[in-house]
């Protein structure tokens, strides 16, 4: 049976190892980002334990950074939590994209997948989920990728908290640029169709224009504008190209 040989070929262990391997470039990109987070945390008033706890329990880099900035600026707790909601709302969009693939999974799998859902893990694992083979172990691929990302994030936070403190003026090195380079590397492979390029361009433009909105709301506004632009371009391009060619 074809399915039996598929099962044999891709055991849970092999799926997990493949996931861990495929996410390595993104892990490398996250290393400087995690270290700088740990380095900056103590200066903003977060204790050693709470900094590690944030990486272990929140596990959402951008919102962790924004929380540090808000803490240092003297923001109140409800305001920081509200901003966290806005910045992390994008994960709900990722979850929506994962829906068709997790419907059969147990509630325990769903909780694990949800807890470990990040930009990087999503971008890598959605490709595996979309492959047509009927492997029942694709969640193990997700787990391998996500746990690698998770372990690295905690380790780098700890490194920043300890070793990072010994580096003079570590914040001025611009280590956070690693996230920019990583995300660009994740975005560019998508930019292959005209609607997608249009969506990306609109999102970037609106993100700049809406940057002044409170609670980082500009992120969601830009995301919605970009998706709408891509969708609109898609519907415009299809009917026009037919009669002319």
């Amino acid at each position: 049976m074809a399915t039996a040989s598929d099962l044999e070929m891709r055991s849970p262990r092999r799926e997990a190892l493949a996931g861990a391997r495929d996410i390595i470039p993104l892990v490398v990109g996250a290393i400087p980002f995690g270290i700088i987070f740990g380095t900056l945390a103590q200066g903003s008033g977060l204790s050693f334990g709470a900094t590690l706890g944030m990486s272990a329990f929140v596990f959402a880099g951008s919102s962790q950074f924004i929380a540090l900035g808000l803490l240092a600026a003297g923001s109140t707790l409800p305001l920081i939590v509200l901003t966290t909601v806005v910045v992390n709302l994008r994960h709900m969009l990722y979850a929506a994209s994962l829906l068709p693939y997790v419907q059969e999974a147990s509630q325990r799998w769903k909780a694990v997948i949800g807890f470990l859902l990040t930009d990087e893990t999503f971008v890598v694992t959605i490709r595996r989920y979309m492959q047509p083979d009927p492997s029942p172990h694709k969640h193990w691929y997700y787990l391998g990728a996500a746990v690698t990302m998770y372990g690295n994030w905690i380790l780098c936070t700890w490194l920043g908290l300890t070793v990072g403190q010994l580096i003079p003026n570590a914040a001025a090195w611009g280590l956070d640029f690693a996230m920019v380079a990583t995300f660009i590397g994740m975005i560019m492979p998508y930019a292959t169709t005209r609607p997608m390029v249009g969506a990306i361009a609109v999102a970037g433009l609106v993100a700049v224009l809406a940057n002044g909105l409170p609670h980082k709301l500009g992120l969601m506004v830009a995301a919605i504008a970009g998706v709408a632009a891509g969708f609109w371009l898609e519907t415009q391009l299809i009917p026009r190209s037919k009669p002319r060619e």
Binding site: L77, T84, A181
Partner: protein
Amino acid sequence: MTDWLLVAAMALVTFSIRYVLLAFSGRIRLSPTLVRALGYVPPVVLTAIVVPAVVLPAGDLWLGWQNARLVGAIASMVLALWRKNLLLTIAGGMAVFWGWQWLMAWLVAQPFLG
């Protein structure tokens, strides 16, 4: 212990956002239109995070050649399109960014440039 309260609150809202749709996935049916729209989500969201970090590093628009983030970002884009190797894009982009930052600092230190 306010910092632990903050961690707990952030963890709770973040997990809820990530988990809620998955938890009820058995009862949710997405329309094909919505699925098509969701295809745009990853690059669009990542772009909305990255672009302000590059051109608004300190809150004001900075499109000059002296902006090392902008030069590093353009280098990353070129590398990503040219080689399609993620690790090369990250390492190369970082190298260009650091090199440019160093160059700018060196230029500023030259007496003839003030």
